[in-house]
Symmetry: C2
Subunit: 141 residues, 2 copies
DNA sequence: TTTTGAATTTAGACTCAATCTTAAAATAGA
DNA sequence: TCTATTTTAAGATTGAGTCTAAATTCAAAA
């Protein structure tokens, strides 16, 4: 599963005429290592472990740039905005009880058939959000 | 396509021990008539045409109650929260250029096959978000 | 119809995520 | 190393959404 790559970011940053900084590197590394879907605040807290003075603005600037470049995805569930460093085509499962968001490989759901959508739009991609109760919550009853 | 019904709301409101008020009625009627996906602010503005003093709190209280009762759905796209009075199982198309959100009947997309999802969750429902360029935006180039 | 108590409304204060501003600091290239 | 440019930090600002308290409205019962 192709996730956010530090190398990709370094290359893109310079090709966009931007500069690579320790803060950006720390943000990217944290996202890259993350197996969950952190919020902006969780990113800020984590990055401040390494760079105690990193400001909120820097985190948001970087996240927004990564988002605009398609290197992370924004996930909104239950009023909370999260960031998903998984760049591969994939879907999400959301637990109605604990709110957890988990990735679903695109192979786990067969390719969708679109007959003809109203207004004949040009389809670029699609994303499935599956809702229910996760395994953990089922056992805790 | 089954949309939010004023009658349903009147019945539910009383069965929940709640009271039906002109403000709630106006909010429901606006949503019911709406063919798009209005924001909370658009609802507030519209309802104030009829009841000039309707407060933001009332609109949010009502929207949250409708949402909790499954009578409207919350749609988040491009940082904007919208409300969808369409209660039927259906999907969404989002235009990457103009941001418009359009309904897609569930029949337009065949039923999905879920082999086995990680963690064996209990699946309750799923929703597809299709992204691309809408017909209008394709012509305007 | 009137009374009565609970639910609801309003207006504005409040909260919190996210953005903006500006001076100071850091970066990449020459 | 030097310099122009970008980026950063800190705090101010914005704006969506929630909360509060006092006044009002609803509907069930008398």
């Amino acid at each position: 599963m192709a996730r956010l790559q530090a190398q990709t970011v370094e290359t893109m940053v310079t090709s966009y005429g931007l500069k690579m900084t320790p803060q950006r590197r720390a943000i990217v590394e944290f996202l890259q290592a993350s197996r969950s879907h952190p919020t902006a605040d969780e990113v800020l807290t984590a990055v401040n472990q390494k760079f105690p003075m990193t400001s909120r603005a820097t985190v948001y600037n970087t996240l927004n740039w990564l988002k605009g470049s398609g290197l992370v995805r924004e996930v909104f569930e239950a009023g909370i905005v999260r960031y998903d460093p998984n760049v591969t085509d994939h879907h999400h499962f959301v637990c109605r009880r604990c709110g957890k968001v988990e990735d679903i490989d695109s192979e786990a759901i067969g390719a969708l058939q679109f007959d003809s959508l109203p207004g004949n739009p040009k389809i670029e991609n699609y994303q499935v959000t599956v809702r229910g109760i996760c395994g953990d919550c089922q056992q805790q009853k």
